[in-house]
C-alpha cells in the first residue's frame, strides 16, 4: 500500500485480473468514493472528512486478502462486428504498410482470436482488450485526436481499444463497430466489463 495523495491509497497487484478482483472486493467491502483498477494497481479514493488513512488502510488490507479467494462468475462472451478500413479505420492502410501486411491479412489476424477485456477506463466505457497477436504491435499516434467517434476500434501496444463514446483518443484506428457499447438507461451502462471475452468479426462478411 502506497499513498497516492491526501485521500488516495494505491495497492500494487500482479496484473489486470488481480487488479479487477481486488477492486471488486473493495467495492463490496465499504463505501469508498471511487475504486479504480489499473493494469497492475488499484487506487482507492476515501472520504478524508469521515475516515482516517489508518482506518482506510485496515479496510483495504482485509478486502485484498478476500480477493484471492474470490470465485469468479463464468465469463461473458461477445461477438463484435467491425467494419474495417475506409473512413472508419483511417490508420488501417498505414498500419498495414508499417507491418507489411495486406488489409485482409490484418483483418484475419485481428479476428482470429478471442480476447479478454483487461480494463475499462481512460474515458467512459473505453475498453482495453489484451492478447493481440504480436505481429499487430503498433505504437500510439504521435498526436492524439481531439475527437474519436463512438464505436471506433483502435490497436496499440499489444491491445485493442474500443471507444464506447465519442471523446479524445490516441489509438490508431482500424475500424468501427455498430455493437451497442453504451446503454445509458440500463442498470449496466457499459456492455463490456473487465473479464468479458470478445471476438471481433469482419462485418463485411456478414
Amino acid at each position: 500500500m502506497l499513498s497516492a495523495g491526501d485521500d488516495l491509497i494505491s495497492i500494487s497487484v500482479d496484473g489486470p485480473r488481480a487488479a479487477q478482483s481486488v477492486a471488486r472486493q473493495l467495492r463490496a467491502a465499504a463505501d469508498w468514493i471511487d475504486v479504480v483498477a489499473g493494469i497492475d494497481s488499484v487506487v482507492v479514493r476515501f472520504d478524508l472528512a469521515a475516515l482516517d488513512r489508518e482506518a482506510a488502510g485496515k479496510l483495504i488490507q482485509r478486502a485484498s486478502i478476500e480477493a484471492f479467494e474470490e470465485n469468479l462468475p463464468p465469463a461473458e462472451h461477445y461477438e463484435i462486428p467491425v467494419t474495417y478500413g475506409g473512413d472508419f479505420g483511417p490508420e488501417l492502410m498505414s498500419i498495414c504498410e508499417h507491418l507489411q501486411l495486406s488489409k485482409s491479412e490484418l483483418i484475419e489476424l485481428h479476428t482470429a482470436r478471442e480476447y479478454e477485456v483487461d480494463m475499462i477506463g481512460f474515458t467512459p466505457g473505453f475498453a482495453y482488450i489484451g492478447g493481440l497477436d504480436p505481429r499487430l504491435d503498433v505504437p500510439r499516434l504521435q498526436e492524439p485526436r481531439v475527437r474519436v467517434e463512438a464505436g471506433s476500434v483502435g490497436i496499440a501496444g499489444g491491445r485493442t481499444g474500443l471507444y464506447a463514446l465519442q471523446g479524445p483518443g490516441g489509438w490508431p484506428l482500424i475500424g468501427r463497430t455498430s455493437f451497442e457499447l453504451f446503454r445509458p438507461n440500463s442498470a449496466r451502462i457499459f456492455t463490456l466489463q473487465p473479464g468479458a471475452m470478445v471476438r471481433f468479426v469482419d462485418a463485411s462478411h456478414q
Binding site: L2, S3, A4, G5, D6, D7, L8, S10, A23, R27, W32, I33, D34, V35, V36, A37, G38, I39, D40, S41, V42, V43, R45, L48, A49, D52, R53, M119, I120, G121, F122, T123, P124, G125, F126, Y128, G157, A164, L165, Q166, G167, P168, P184, I189, F190
Partner: protein, 312 residues
C-alpha cells in the same frame, strides 16, 4: 422558456455536482471546476449547494431573462451589468422579464458562476446534471451553450436580497498557493525538492480536463510510458516533455504518466480559477496535516454553507 443566451462566451456550461463511484467505468467526475463559488452563488438564491448553475470561462456570458427570477453571480472578478447598469458580485438580484444580464470578461480568476433561484433544468445523466463535454452528455445536450439557446428553470422563484459576508468571499488572486501531497511517483522525480519550492507559471493549455504548468520542467527516472494507472482530479502528472500537468474535474480516469503530486482535497476548488499567466506555488503537505486542514476548512465554511462537505 426562462432564459435565452445572447452571447455564449468561450465555454459556458451547466454544471452541478460531480459524478462519483463511476470512475471504474471510465466516467470522470465533471461538475463545477470551482464548486465553492458555485455553492456560494446557489446559497444567495436559496438553492442547495450543488443545484445546476451556469459556469462561464474567461469572457462571461450575456443572457436575456424571459421570466422574473432571482439570480446571483460569484467566482472570478468580472464586471457584471443588468440592462447596462453595474451590479455587485456576491449579491442576489431580481430580474424582470426582458432584463439582459451581461457577465463580462474576468479580470482575475477564470470562471464565473450564475445561479438562479429554483435552479436550471438540465439533462441528468449517470446521477448528475453536470455537462461532460468530451463524451457530450449531461447539462444542455451535453455541450457548451451557443447563442440562441433557450434554457428552462425548474421553478423560477424570487428571494429576498442576500449578500455573502466578507469573510466568506474566497480571495481571487493571480498568484496562488496550492497545498499538495506526495503521490506514487514523487520519489522517482529528479530534484523533487524543487517541485515544492519554485513558482511555476500557469500555461495556456488550461481547460476542464487539466492545467499545464510552464517555466519549470521536471524529469523522472521512469523511461517510456508506465502501464495505465488510475488518476484523479488534483493529480499532478509529469509527462515526457517535463511540463507538469494538473488534472482537473473532467480528467480521464487512467493515465500513463508519472504522478508526482496531488493537490489536497481542501484546495481543489482553486483549480477552477487558475488562468493562463498566473503564478503558482505547490506547498508540500503530508497526509495527516492535509486531513486536519480539510476538517478545519470544513469547520470554517460550515457557518455559511452547511453542506460544505459536498462542495470541498
Amino acid at each position: 422558456m426562462s432564459l435565452r443566451i445572447l452571447k455564449a462566451g468561450l465555454q459556458t456550461t451547466i454544471q452541478s455536482r460531480p459524478r462519483v463511484g463511476l470512475r471504474h467505468l471510465g466516467v470522470p467526475a465533471s461538475g463545477a471546476a470551482d464548486p465553492l463559488s458555485m455553492a456560494l452563488a446557489n446559497k444567495l438564491v436559496g438553492n442547495p449547494a450543488c443545484m445546476a448553475a451556469l459556469e462561464t470561462t474567461l469572457n462571461g456570458v450575456t443572457l436575456e431573462f424571459r421570466e422574473a427570477v432571482s439570480f446571483a453571480i460569484t467566482g472570478a472578478l468580472a464586471m457584471v451589468r443588468v440592462n447596462g447598469r453595474a451590479i455587485e458580485l456576491h449579491c442576489s438580484s431580481r430580474a424582470k422579464r426582458g432584463d439582459v444580464l451581461e457577465v463580462g470578461a474576468t479580470t482575475r480568476g477564470a470562471r464565473s458562476y450564475v445561479a438562479f433561484a429554483g435552479g436550471l433544468k438540465a439533462d441528468a445523466v449517470l446521477g448528475s446534471d453536470s455537462t461532460y463535454l468530451p463524451a457530450a452528455f449531461g447539462g444542455h445536450a451535453g455541450r457548451a451553450l451557443k447563442r440562441g439557446d433557450e434554457l428552462d428553470l425548474r421553478s423560477a422563484t424570487e428571494v429576498s436580497e442576500r449578500r455573502t459576508p466578507e469573510q466568506f468571499r474566497p480571495p481571487i488572486s493571480s498568484s496562488w498557493m496550492l497545498r499538495a501531497a506526495r503521490s506514487c511517483e514523487t520519489g522517482q522525480l529528479r530534484d523533487a525538492r524543487r517541485l515544492f519550492e519554485k513558482k511555476i507559471r500557469v500555461g495556456n493549455r488550461n481547460d476542464r480536463m487539466g492545467i499545464q504548468l510552464q517555466g519549470e520542467t521536471f524529469t523522472t527516472n521512469i523511461e517510456g510510458d508506465m502501464p495505465s494507472v488510475p488518476v484523479f482530479p488534483g493529480i499532478v502528472q509529469c509527462p515526457g516533455d517535463g511540463s507538469l500537468f494538473i488534472l482537473s474535474v473532467d480528467a480521464q480516469t487512467t493515465g500513463g504518466y508519472p504522478r508526482v503530486a496531488k493537490v489536497t482535497r481542501a484546495d481543489m476548488h482553486i483549480l477552477g480559477q487558475l488562468r493562463p499567466g498566473d503564478s503558482l506555488s505547490l506547498i508540500e503537505r503530508n497526509d495527516s496535516v492535509a486531513a486536519i486542514e480539510l476538517r478545519e476548512k470544513h469547520a470554517y465554511w460550515r457557518e455559511w454553507l452547511p453542506d460544505i462537505a459536498e462542495v470541498i
